[in-house]
């Protein structure tokens, strides 16, 4: 029954001609212009979609790369793949990540149980071995708190969320006039977990930041023990575990050695004793764009060098498991 209390007021014109509608249309046009001006457009997956998918990975990999942002940006599964006998290699590293039992359990869950060749690559930085503090949980633990609803939205509406990401007027200006921007950055969020970054000009800002961080926080023996315990557990299960220190730059290596309390030789010895295979890496032979993370091309080169070192290592110390796996699927190692 229609309401008998309706109290219509005279309209001031057609609905589409009123100020409110006009203002909203103008706002949408301005938003579209502003969003289109975003500088340094990412390629590959949208960031929110990338992280939402990554945090839900399970049973998808023969080999898993673990670590913090240096591994995330610095090790490319596509660079490792051709030389190593693993079909599926995933980069499961996160920004500001620290090795914890929770994280290592999650990394293990990525391995396909039926896979005959399973491997975990542990990329070490002193920061990833520091103890957890409440004010710096790390990106992995933050992402773990995402609700299924948030994951759904990020997975399916990642493009929309990216378009509406906050940006300043200065960003928009640099989007309009890229040559005026102080830095040029291209990020590529790949489905295998690698984030390829190409940034110019090359700077060393991270060295200063790490000097401050490591002055307040040092490497934790408890975290080292956690890592070696997992190495021991995995190797007993027949999983190959490779450890290596991520390269950065000369200044960063010096700062980390001075301030973090990290002893690379002692760590390598403990790692090897636990059953892992330690790979020596050249810590300042690759181009870093900020003093900490490798430039895209350097990451590919480092990944190939890492694969070669692992491959050589395997040839020197072949194991029954690898030999058996090679015999079963010769095609993938070509």
């Amino acid at each position: 029954m229609p309401s008998n209390t309706t109290n219509p007021q005279p309209r001031t014109g057609p609905w589409w001609a009123n100020r409110t509608f006009g203002t909203l249309v103008l706002a949408v046009v301005l938003m579209f212009v502003m969003g289109s001006l975003r500088p340094d457009k990412d390629v590959g997956m949208y960031p929110d979609e990338y992280w939402a998918r990554k945090i839900t990975w399970e049973r998808c990999a023969d080999a898993v790369l673990t670590g913090d942002s240096r591994v995330l940006i610095g090790v490319a599964p596509q660079g490792l793949g051709p030389m190593l006998p693993y079909r599926q290699i995933y980069n499961f590293a996160f920004v500001a990540n620290r090795y914890s039992a929770e994280y290592l359990d999650a990394a293990e869950k990525l391995l396909i149980p039926e896979s005959r060749r399973k491997a975990v690559f542990i990329g070490i930085t002193p920061h990833s071995l520091t103890g957890r503090t409440d004010d710096a949980m790390g990106h992995y633990l933050e992402l773990k708190k995402m609700s299924p609803r948030d994951i759904y939205v990020a997975t399916h509406f990642g493009g929309l969320m990216y378009f509406f990401q906050p940006m300043s007027l200065r960003d928009a200006f640099h989007g309009l006039f890229p040559s005026q921007a102080p830095t040029q950055t291209a990020r590529d969020y790949r489905a295998d977990g690698w984030v390829a970054v190409h940034k110019t000009p090359l700077v060393r800002h991270e060295v200063k930041r790490y000097r401050k961080i490591l002055a307040e926080r040092s490497v934790s023996q408890e975290v080292i023990d956690t890592v070696t315990a997992y190495v021991q557990r995995w190797t007993r299960q027949g999983i190959r575990v490779y450890g290596f220190i991520m390269p950065s730059c000369k200044e960063m290596v010096q700062v980390e050695l001075e301030l973090s309390g990290f002893d690379p030789e002692a760590f390598a010895a403990a790692f090897t004793e636990a059953g892992g295979r330690w790979i020596e890496t050249d810590l300042d032979a690759y181009e870093s764009f900020d003093g900490s993370h490798l430039q895209k091309e350097a990451a590919l080169r480092f990944s190939k060098d890492l694969a070669q070192a692992v491959s050589l290592y395997e040839q020197e110390t072949p194991s029954a498991a690898t030999s058996q796996a090679k015999a079963e699927s010769p095609d993938v190692s070509d």
Binding site: M1, P2, S3, T5, T6, N7, P8, Q9, R11, T12, G13, N18, R19, T20, G22, T23, L24, L26, A27, L30, M31, M34, G35, D135, V153, F157, L160, M161, F164, P166, M167, S168, A172
Partner: protein
Amino acid sequence: MQFNSLIFILFAGLFFAGWPVLKRRHTTRWVYLVVASFIFYGWWDWRFLFLIIGSGLIDFFAGLAMQRYAARRKLWLVLSICGNVGSLAIFKYLDFGIGNLNWLLGAFGIDAQIPATRLILPVGISFYTFQSMSYTIDVYRGLLQPTHNIFHFFAYLSLFPQLVAGPIVRAKDLLPQLETVSEVSADERWDGLNLIVFGFFKKVVVADTLAGTVNAAFAAPELSPSAGYWWIVMVMFAFQIYCDFSGYSDIARGLGKWMGYEFPVNFRNPYIASSFQEFWQRWHISLSTWFRDYVYIPLGGSRKGLLRNQVNLWITMLISGLWHGAAWHFIFWAIAHSFYLTVERFTAWPQKLMRLPGGRHLATLAVFVLTVLAWVFFRAQTFGQALDVFRMMFDFGNLKFDLAYRLIDNNARNVLLIIIGSQLFFHLGLDKGQWTASRSRPKLAFDSVFIAVLIVICVFNRAPSNVFIYFQF
């Protein structure tokens, strides 16, 4: 569902797409309002819908019973208040009571640690409980005829724009509005848009940007030793909480206007008040008037002499402090304001100050500074932390503005300057200028572009999202 979330934008879009059609029929309007409001509230945790429904049913039936059994209406009122206060007591105050009891028992040497219940506080419980109580009290006082339609009642109680953080609307003001359907005029639509856009700006640009600095200051393991820094942080918090809360109220009022309803104004630039009495007439007005009408006046108000008036004032303020949170630091915040009001009542210092040249500006500044000091109790996580912050603020030998400059980021500094500028704009009465009221074509065009730009700023210059502060109350 938070106003500042993608899901709410979608929800509001769907709601307002259906509203112009569905509001025209009585039954569909009520059902549409209740279902939409329950979806809005149940989005956090659907289980809490049972609480709001249970608490609402008590008041709905108590209202009917008061009408039918008029001789025993006091009994029904008491039952209704017990139900409402009881749910608040269980969800909000039980653990606070247990904690204090454990401390008290310990003080007497009795080691009987009663375990805390750790119940989750339902969002907005204090708001809808007070709104529900006002219904039965008004029915009891004969100011309102109880509704016989349960959908009418729940549409009033759970109306989504103001359900979780106010303004607290009285049944006698809102129910008659819900009964009618009025076409929303172009001016109302424009006013609604203005309120919504300014509300979002206050929340996502101002409050959330300031929150980053304030939260970092209070979460640091060791408080930064700089008086300058802490004064700036506390001024930032004063504007953060104001913009957070008044932003929510503005959005609620704007949505109400788009629906054809008028919610009361909740904030009138409180920081330009030149006395504490004026401050409380400008800050969270719907709560202040609720306490005035349902606590302060029933206690006797100012009718029973100066001393009794002060006792009533202190009781009302202390209950208001507890309403904000079950912790001692909220009670101390209320004590600080009670003290300010009492001193003001006995000395009339603002009036005396205002007689001097520039006295009004000085009085406003003094009220603001004292309000900022009281906010320390409100924001601190513990009473001990509040005392530490006071120690830092009054360590004038350690002003260290250079440290403050390094610790506070550029965005927060810029936002603080903008908000202080806007307060001066209102304080100096520039909002009452001819240009502001003009309806000339250039002015209308300027307004449209200004609001459109503000929308773009809200979208692209928003700070990382924070939950509205008043949701926890």
